[in-house]
């Protein structure tokens, strides 16, 4: 009886591990859109960006035009580690090839007021694989946690 229980638990762990590996590393359909040139105007003012969320396709040649509507603002793009600063009336541009897929925060890089540390936007390059894989693994973790413990 004990041997059967142990064997069943071992089988269970192997199934969870295989499922986990499949979710973490399995192929996900990706965008097949042809790369294009994209010019995106971002207005920065009063601690937010407009638009605050931007979608591009992997391989796009992206130009972000930062326009400040009140004081000096910056735009630092996480992951790509690019930075631009715009004075009011003097837009700044950042051009890059969106060759890293995923979701990246961009944030103000010039102290612009009280809520400056929280002035944040998002650039999505293709699908956010990490998010969907993490949610899949979360579902697996929730079940595995309950299964794991033997009363």
């Amino acid at each position: 009886m004990a041997t059967r229980t142990i064997a069943r638990q071992r089988t269970g762990w192997i199934i969870f591990a295989l499922l986990g590996l499949a979710i973490a590393f399995g192929p996900i359909p990706t965008s097949t859109a042809a790369p294009a040139d994209r010019l995106i105007r971002i207005e920065a003012g009063s601690f937010d960006y407009a638009p605050a969320e931007i979608d591009v396709n992997p391989g796009d040649r992206v130009t972000l035009e930062l326009v400040s509507t009140d004081v000096v603002h910056g735009l630092y793009l996480d992951g790509y580690e690019l930075n631009a600063t715009a004075d009011p009336g003097r837009p700044a541009r950042l051009t890059f090839v969106a060759d890293k897929p995923g979701t990246f925060r961009f944030r103000c890089s010039v102290t612009c007021g009280a809520l400056h540390p929280f002035m944040i936007g998002k650039l999505r390059v293709g699908e956010n694989d990490l998010l969907w894989r993490a949610i899949g693994l979360a579902a697996l973790a929730a079940v595995a946690g309950v299964w794991w413990v033997r009363s």
């Binding site: 009280a114 540390p117 990490l130």
Partner: protein, 461 residues
Amino acid sequence: MTLTSPRTRRFDLTRLPLVKPLLRSRWPQFLVTVIALSGFLFAIITGLAGTPVGSRNFGIVFVWIAWWALLMLIAVPLLGRGWCSICPIPVPGEWLQRGAVLKPNGRGWGLARRWPRRLRNIWLQNASFALVALFSAVVLTQPAATGIVLAAFLFIAVGASLIFERRAFCRYLCPVGGFIGLYSQIAPIEVRVKDISICAAHTEKTCYIGDAEGYGCPWQSFPGGLAKNTYCGACMECLRTCPHDNIAINLRPFGDDLIKPIGRRLDEAFKAFIMLGSAVAYSAVMLGTWGDLKSAAYAVGSGEWFAYAIAFLAFIFGVLPGAFLLAIVAGQRLSGSTAKTKSTFIHMAYALVPLGLAAWIAFSLSFVFTNLSYLWPALSDPLGRGWNLLGAAHAQWTPYLTQAMPMLQAIVLLGGLLWSSATARRIAGERLSARAAMRQSLPVAGFCLIVTAGLLGLLIG
């Protein structure tokens, strides 16, 4: 589980050379506390009189970035109430109350009243945390607000020490101490007695009353009755006053307190919801992309702020516990459990502790490492007078770990979810058969999954 059950898988650190003398001596703790008190007072001064630019102000940067990082990423997960043992906030009041800075030495000041019986719980700490959280967008960004809040903590702590006995502020009022206590149940370290029978035979109870070597437990806990870290301040007084060398500082498995079916209470259960809900709300307000939400949280007193405050309070005190209650009822239906719903709600809420801590760590990782580089100029020019003490006054802001951050946050959240689900099953198994326990805990795991998915969406989505 009883208090006298064998403490397995533990290692008493006081068996190591130097550990006990270092912990028994008051000097190391005193020196670290004085350094912390100096930093705390300096943070108040710079908050009130330093540069009004938050990201350049020593008070803001020192407290909300450096201290917060140490607290949430290191001290709480690994040392539990380790911070409380050197916290500067209650120290001036305690010195006055004792009339001494080090060993007991004559009479102190104060009325030494007992804390009101009806308030011997952490509801006031729940309320004080929620109150501070409502103003957090201002407190975290306005140096003067930080200075005022820190000074208020200090004055309230001194007042509590002069009116009530022992550390009433820490035990019943401190908004930080409340959540440290909750999450200290996870820490792999504990102060416990070695042999409860020695305590039972020791009629003087010097650990609680005090003697010439030290003070009676400032946290009003009897060490022989300690089963959880929640109300042990790790102050080491019992190590100093026990004449039988019966106090151990144990290394133990992570999360050991969570699976003890004793001492679970509604006020602590709500602390778990408040903390988990606040982590979600902070992630949305401070790390989200919604400018209007940030502005509403910041515009204290405006109609938008009142709407934000109502939504925040409704979420942490209503929506989250309400959804959890539905999960509990669903679990009872599935499992056929006849236990009282309220009791099951309270017990199962402790399963949220690992996920709550993971949520705070994931939030803090991003917040801290994005803003950590503000520390160098703030240390170089702490008063905003144009100094350059460390040669870093003009260091540029640089966010750290931006590439690795989403992956780190996902791993932390997944670990918290796995741990919470396993804890839910363990807690359910205390009173139910294996099959029923699984059915009772599955809806709770589902609740945790929804919260985790929401956090993933906010932090890495």
